[in-house]
């Protein structure tokens, strides 16, 4: 709580968006990955970022907590300018949870220690308090019984849920998800998405880079479609995924939904489902 007291502009911040991105550019050498992104995420809002690979969506997410240093533009999180060179970036990152495609659990310590180590080293919580917070968050993701296991002993889905619990243990105001289910076997995707769904229901501010269109449609307040380093289209999920206005969005959705629609019947041949094909052509 002491962190809150410093924020005199907290009253102003409440009507400011939780994440504010202005004119963001990012280049890797000659590769101009982000070409002027403006985006706001309100408190409690769930925004899904979709787009073809190489469209810059992961880079956009990584610019929010400065894992990538933007080449130009500004990023604000909770009213603090992240891109300000004088800002204490470690302090800002404590308020931003991040979940990675590859989970990135610490393999040399147990599940519980994965959750307690950052609390103790970064937040200075004592052993008992950090353990209590860890257990509480493991319960949230349904893995309290794995507290003493090591990451390597868990399935991918379980590892990712632990990674979410680890981020939540720091008490973040915002959660960033960078393709959280892309490295998972298909049968493990559901358990991770349902944890995220609960989190969204609890009012967490979330920015999710994903290829899971059903998740985006169901959970996202807003869907942002990116291509070629710019935002091509954004709006309510039902509109962007269901009735895209832009040609590029339609092409992308056709590519991503049709193979799935065509592939699924090949597996359980007798029962072709109309649902997916219908939405694709929207």
């Amino acid at each position: 709580m002491p962190r809150k007291t410093e924020a005199v502009d907290d009253t102003m911040a409440t009507d400011r968006p939780e994440i504010e991105i202005r004119g963001l550019h990012k280049s890797f050498g000659d590769n101009h990955v982000l070409r002027g992104i403006d985006l706001e995420v309100a408190r409690g809002e769930v925004v899904c970022v979709i787009g073809p690979s190489g469209s810059g969506k992961s880079t956009l997410l990584r610019c929010v907590n400065l894992l990538e240093e933007p080449s130009g533009g500004q990023v604000f999180v909770g009213g603090t300018e992240v891109t300000d060179l004088d800002v204490d970036i470690d302090a800002v990152r404590r308020r931003i949870g991040m979940v990675f495609q590859q989970f990135n659990l610490f393999p040399h310590v147990s599940v519980t220690e994965n959750l307690t180590l950052p609390q103790r080293r970064v937040l200075g919580r004592d052993k008992a308090r950090s353990a209590a917070v860890a257990l509480e968050n493991l319960k949230r993701v349904g893995l309290a019984d794995k507290a003493d296991a090591y990451p390597a002993q868990l399935s991918g889905g379980q590892q990712q849920r632990v990674a979410i619990a680890r981020a939540l243990s720091m008490g973040p105001e915002v959660m960033l998800f960078d393709e959280p289910t892309s490295a998972l076997d298909p049968e493990l995707v559901g358990e991770v998405l349902s944890v995220m769904r609960v989190l969204a229901g609890e009012g967490m501010t979330m920015m999710v880079v994903t290829h899971e269109m059903s998740f985006a449609r169901e959970v996202a307040d807003r869907v942002v479609f990116m291509d070629g380093g710019v935002i091509v289209e954004q709006g309510p999920a039902a509109q962007v995924v269901g009735h895209p206005r832009q040609e590029r969005t339609r092409n992308f959705l056709n590519r991503i939904l049709d193979p799935a629609a065509a592939g699924a019947p090949a597996d359980d041949g007798r029962r072709p489902r109309a649902e997916d094909g219908g939405s694709g052509t929207g």
Binding site: P107, R121, V122
Partner: protein, 266 residues
């Protein structure tokens, strides 16, 4: 003509030849070598027994002390140089690279002599603390650090990039992430090669031979050689050698076990 042989026949012939060569060499050595003289010179039982317990309590003990102190110094210095090598400050990287190339490129013996001569010259009036022990630790440590720095650097770089990103995104500073997350994992990776380095150091400690040491400071090689010249018999050399093997063979075994375990873990 060979094409008419079956694979089984060919295998049998090939193995037969290899066994024959092996046996022939053994027989040749057994017949040609003068075993009596060898036994006289290297395997005098009562002479060997007289070496005990001093060869253990003084010589082996000193070898272990020299090795461990050199190893610990090398480990600390090696870690520092590895961090310098990975630093974003260019001069640090240069210094580290020069150090590594220099000390890996020079014979350890030269460095020993250098430490004995140059340090008192460079810092007049100062003695290397610990006398011979300090000198040996410094000499071995300087050499070991160069090798260990490269090993540790490779270990740190073998830790996936995502680990640092995860730690940073949780609010760890770069230094804290290194200490709490990266280095513990890197050490797991480098334990087998570092143990290997320990075996090498254990043998290199014999270079103390070339520094003047008192009777109480003698390690295995010096001890063996001194007693060999005193008794005009080489048995002490053989016993000293066996003492080395007593330590190095189990250590090598441990390295193999560690490597096998590391392979399994990845």
């Amino acid at each position: 003509m060979t094409s008419r042989l079956t694979r089984r026949q060919r295998r049998r012939i090939s193995q037969g030849i290899q066994y024959a060569v092996f046996v022939a060499v053994l027989v040749l050595i057994g017949v040609l070598a003068d075993w009596d003289r060898l036994q006289n010179q290297f395997a005098q039982k009562d002479l060997a027994l007289r070496l005990f317990p001093e060869i253990i309590t003084t010589a082996l003990r000193n070898t272990v002390i020299y090795t461990m102190s050199g190893f610990l110094l090398g480990l600390v210095l090696g870690l520092v140089i590895a961090m310098m090598r990975l630093s974003s400050v260019a001069p640090y990287r240069w210094v580290a690279s020069v150090y590594i190339e220099l000390f890996r490129g020079l014979p350890a013996l030269l460095i020993f002599i250098f430490v004995g001569v140059a340090v008192p010259l460079a810092f007049p009036g100062t003695e290397i603390p610990g006398g011979t022990y300090g000198k040996v630790a410094l000499g071995l440590g300087l050499v070991a650090a160069a090798y260990m720095a490269e090993t540790i650097r490779a270990g740190i770089q073998a830790v996936p990039k995502g680990q640092m990103e995860a730690a940073r995104s949780l609010g760890f500073s770069h230094a804290r992430a290194m200490v709490s997350v990266i280095i513990p994992q890197a050490f797991r990776i480098v334990i087998p090669p570092l143990t290997n380095e320990l075996v090498l150091l254990f043998k290199d400690s014999s270079l103390v031979l070339f520094l003047g040491v008192t009777l109480q400071e003698r390690e295995l090689t010096k001890f063996g050689r001194d007693l060999a010249s005193q008794t005009a018999n080489s048995t002490p050399i053989l016993v000293a050698g066996l003492c080395y093997l007593l330590v190095t063979v189990p250590l090598s075994f441990v390295v193999r076990r560690l490597e096998a375990r590391a392979d399994k873990a990845v």
